[in-house]
Amino acid sequence: MLLHLAWFSRYTGCWIGEWCGYVPSPQITPTLSPAQHAHALQDWQQSIACRITPDGAPFDTLESAWDGDQWEECPSGGAVCLDVTRFGWPVGDHQWSVWNDAHRSLDWGDYHQFLQIGMATLRIEANQSSHRPIRGTAQHRVFDITGLPIAKFHGRLFGQFVWNGGRWHFIPDGTHRALPHDAAPRELSAGDLEMALMTEIPVFERLLAPALDTKDLHA
C-alpha cells in the first residue's frame, strides 16, 4: 500500500523529512475493538517508520526529502512520524509546517512569497503567496523571495528583466524606461533576480508608496 510519512521534531516542531513509497499492508486482527485497532495500526506504522532513514529504506521508495541537519540533531525518540498520505501533497510540501507535540496538532507555517518569471519573455507573470512550495517549470520559473527586502512590495511587483551592459536590470511596469536587451550569456538565476530587483527598491518606494493612514490626515 502507498504510504506518505512526514517526520517532525517533538521539541522544536520543525520539519525533519518525508518519505513516500509502497509498504506491506498491516495484518490486523479484525475482531479488535476500535481503540485496539488504532493502537495496532500505530504500532505497525512505527515499525515501518523506524526502518526509514535519509540513507534509505527497505521498501519500494517513490520519493523522499530530508533536512539532514535536523535529522542529525534529532535525539533518540525526538521525532514524531505522521501519516500524511491523505493530503495528497507532493513530497516536501510539508517542509514549512509546524508540529505542536503537546496538542498533537500540525499547522501550516507562515506564507512564503514567490515570483513567477516567464523565461521566454523575462517578465514577472505572477506574485504568489503560499505556505506550500510552488514549483515552476522550465518555461515559467518560480523564485522564493521570502525575507528579502523587496518582499515588502510583494503583490505589486511586475516588470521586465533585461540583460544590458554585462548585468541583469529590472524595469518595473509604469516607469516607461527603455533599455536595449543584449544577448544574455547565461540564464536568469535567483541571485541575478535578487540583485536586479534590489537595485530598483528606490523606484518601488516611489511607485508603490503605501497609502497614508487616515489618522495622519486628521493630525
Binding site: 526502518r51 514524531v80 493530503f87 505572477a126
Partner: protein, 106 residues
C-alpha cells in the same frame, strides 16, 4: 497484571518486521519516538494559496485530488482591462487568471 491475548498478538506483529531485520540487514533508527496515523492528530481544516497574475498561465502548487477550489477575481492591471471572473475545481497544476485563490479542504 493479566495480559490480553490480542495485545500479545499485536505486539508480536509489531516485532515481526524487526525480527526480519537480520534477514534484510536493514537499518533501524531510534529517532522516531512515536507514530500517528491519519485522524490521530489535528490539522487545519483548509489550506490556501493566493496570487496576482497577468493573463498568462500561472503555476500553482500541485494538488492531486478534486477537493481543491480555485477562484479568480477581476482586476485591472493598467495595460488592458481584460479580467476573468470564474471559479472552478482543479485537479491539475496550472491556472490562468488575474487574482486567484486556491483553497483545499480536508
Amino acid at each position: 497484571m493479566r495480559l490480553d491475548p490480542s495485545s500479545i498478538a499485536n505486539a508480536i506483529w509489531a516485532l515481526v518486521p524487526i525480527a526480519r531485520r537480520s534477514v534484510t540487514a536493514s537499518t533501524v533508527s531510534d529517532k522516531t519516538g512515536y507514530s500517528l496515523t491519519a485522524g490521530s492528530y489535528v490539522q487545519r481544516a483548509s489550506s490556501s494559496q493566493h496570487g496576482q497574475a497577468t493573463a498568462n498561465p500561472t503555476t500553482v502548487s500541485s494538488v492531486t485530488t478534486s477537493r481543491a477550489h480555485l477562484s479568480f477575481s477581476g482586476g485591472y492591471y493598467g495595460q488592458d482591462s481584460a479580467y476573468l471572473s470564474s471559479s472552478t475545481a482543479i485537479t491539475g497544476a496550472s491556472a490562468t487568471g488575474i487574482g486567484y485563490s486556491l483553497s483545499e479542504y480536508f
